[in-house]
């Protein structure tokens, strides 16, 4: 299946004189065999025999089934029918070249070792996926950069993996899921932050994860529309946790990128935390500054799925409140809710210079892409 859904009515970024850095590209495997060169025989056998053992009811599918196969755009299937995002040649032609992507950051989601209850298996998967990113993707196209996947529930192993990978400058961040066993501000995760700071790497948090908690404080919702939206609340919860626990008092150089959670909610959350901090100061005396200050200094956001206010003018207000410098463009290729760089920021009332910052300048400076 290869259908052209979007017609190129709008000028491409290149035609507008803009370069693009895509901070959220999902590389996939045609088959799990791709990992085997990087997995010890013991873990290959384990994978074939036991497979994923996770904190949810289905081991091979999502319990909120999506609306399209593989969560993908209908036009992102390679001609041979292999999984969207799994064919480097096709991705290059269909996305990197077509959309003028100058740099793309890989966010591998499949076979995520961080979700595994068997920590040793999880660590083996993380390490294999890190090797696989370099071998299959970064070697194939010099524009692509990797994310170090880690077993966040076993921080010592995660730290070792970060230390092992950091010398390869093609890795630009440490990648973890926002949904973890405990909120990410809790101290069990602090060794990971220490290692990230020591290696001058930011932490990328891409929506998802299987921490064993319900998607809402009242249990699991029934529908995908609810589940999809609940990712936004997870982002708010982890900001709340990291700020209030004092992570940034401990690690003033730590930088966090929230990936695929949107950003329009950020001002309201910062107002809310500031307001209630006034009354809760006595409970959290370790906080020295307003919560919004920690947020402003330590959290950045990728843009997709771009928020869509009823009145486009409000997009401008939201961007002003968040700050142009904290936003980094992303597409989520090849997923169904892909943001097209031709359209995503057109209604925000941005100047060319501001648009250039969000489309590429901020990410280049932040990740040191060159």
């Amino acid at each position: 299946m290869n259908v052209n859904v979007a017609k190129p009515e709008q000028l491409t970024p290149a035609e507008q004189g803009l370069s693009v850095v895509d901070c959220d590209i999902h590389p996939a495997m045609k088959s799990v065999d791709e990992l085997f060169p990087f997995l010890a025989r013991r873990w290959q056998d384990h994978l074939k025999t036991y497979g994923s053992h996770v904190r949810q009811g289905l081991s091979d599918a999502l319990a909120h089934p999506r609306m399209t196969p593989d969560v993908a755009r209908v036009d992102a299937w390679p001609d041979d029918g292999s999984t969207p995002g799994s064919d480097p040649e096709f991705m290059r032609k269909h996305h990197l070249d077509a959309n003028g992507v100058e740099f793309g950051i890989l966010i591998p989601l499949g076979r995520n070792g961080g979700n595994q209850r068997n920590l040793d298996y999880g660590a083996a998967l993380c390490s294999a996926i890190n090797d696989w990113q370099i071998a299959k993707w970064c070697e194939f196209d010099k524009r692509l950069r990797g994310s170090i996947t880690v077993t966040q529930e076993d921080p010592a192993t995660a730290v070792a993996e970060i230390d092992k990978r950091a010398a390869d400058k093609r890795f630009v961040q440490v990648l973890m899921p926002p949904r973890t066993i405990e909120p990410l501000g809790r101290r069990r995760y602090w060794p990971i932050y220490e290692a990230a700071v020591a290696n001058k790497l930011p932490i990328g948090l891409h929506v998802g994860g299987v921490g064993g908690h319900a998607s809402t404080g009242s249990g699991m919702p029934s529908y995908y529309i609810e589940e999809h939206t609940s990712n936004v609340q997870t982002m708010q919860a982890l900001i709340t946790s990291m700020v209030i626990e004092g992570v940034f008092e401990q690690f003033p150089d730590l930088q966090i990128v929230l990936i695929e959670g949107g950003f329009a909610w950020e001002p309201a959350l910062s107002w809310r935390l500031d307001k209630h901090w006034e009354r809760f100061k006595g409970e959290v005396p370790h906080l020295k500054r307003e919560p919004s200050e920690y947020m402003r200094e330590h959290f950045r956001f990728t843009t997709q799925p771009i928020d869509e206010p009823d009145n486009p003018r409000d997009m401008r207000h939201i961007i002003d409140w968040v700050g142009v410098d904290r936003l980094m463009f992303s597409t989520d290729y090849p997923h169904w809710d892909f943001d097209d760089p031709r359209y995503a920021l057109n209604n925000a009332g941005l100047s060319v210079a501001e648009k250039q910052k969000i489309m590429s300048g901020n990410a280049k400076a932040f990740y040191g892409l060159q």
Partner: protein, 381 residues
Amino acid sequence: MSKEAIVNKTSAGPAPGKGLFGGEAIDCDVHITVPSMNVLIPYLDDYWREAAVTRGLDRHKMNITGQPANAPIFARPDWRPERGEPGTDLATLQSQALDAFGTRFAIANCMYGAQALHHEDMAAALCGAVNEWVAREWLDREPRLRASIVIPLQNPQLSVQEIEKRAADKRFVQVLMPAMGEMTLGRRYYWPIYEAAERHELPVGIHAGSSYRYAPTSAGWGSYAFEDYAAQASAFENQMLSLVAEGVFAKYPGIKFVFMESGFAWLPPFLWRANKTWRGVRAETPWVKRPPAEIIREHVRVTLQPVDAPLDREHLDRVIEQIGSDEMLLFSTDFPHWHFDGLNALPDTLPPTLTKKILLENPLATYSRLREPGQPKETRQ
């Protein structure tokens, strides 16, 4: 009352005998607190009266984990009674909330720990006793006071029984639920409650709080009460979307939900996101025929305090405009919780055209029972 008059009154203090708003306001969220189970024992039946004593239940106040009663946010210093915990004294409520603000009616929400119990029948007995205690000890003594029906949400059938029992007393003006319980609130499991609420023209009030069946957020259990309090806004979003997605408003078109004590600044980005996601995946819930924001603006109301938007006019005007409806906000002080000082419950930076709606018109439109003549004593059971 004009905007200027309100501002002047704010600075000049209340007019004698009339309070700040001179009866032109309805306070949609004040709290009364069960001081100890002893006050409920007279309203329990023989079995539960004996059980309360022999099992030592009466030694517990049934405090809710997320609301430490003496934490500053839940106990405004000048709103504390001379003795006992905030919210336990009628005279303080009368002078500090009703007289001072000049409210025509105030809706009392009793957040009681019975809703966290696992024993459904015990929860039902205690909720019933709370409602009876509220009627006898509060509503009978203060004609300006109205109340929400506390229900054992653990069991919808028992909840409906309690609603049926109280519905004839028109001083009970809504059904009360905590924002976080055992299931998302749109699920069909709860529909008998909504059927009863709609039939009796009782809005369903969803108040900040949790029975802690699940971690307050999908990220797990945080460390601090501050985090739990901040998370209430997300819980509200989850429940609003659940009610829409499950089709509650298609099934019960006359029903209204009032979300209490969690501000409103989070509404615009939530409504935008709900609409955007619905546009992408609406085939999943074909009974949702309109954008979620449209449905929410029609059926959902939120109480004012704690105001969680910046109070400067530029921000507040923008947020109000983004909400996209002048009918959603209902005045509240959240007495005796501490979100503002003096009588500054209504930010004087709110658009003047909105203040009258917030203070009186919107509450009257929401609570049909407040439009009827009060029936304080006649309806006693």
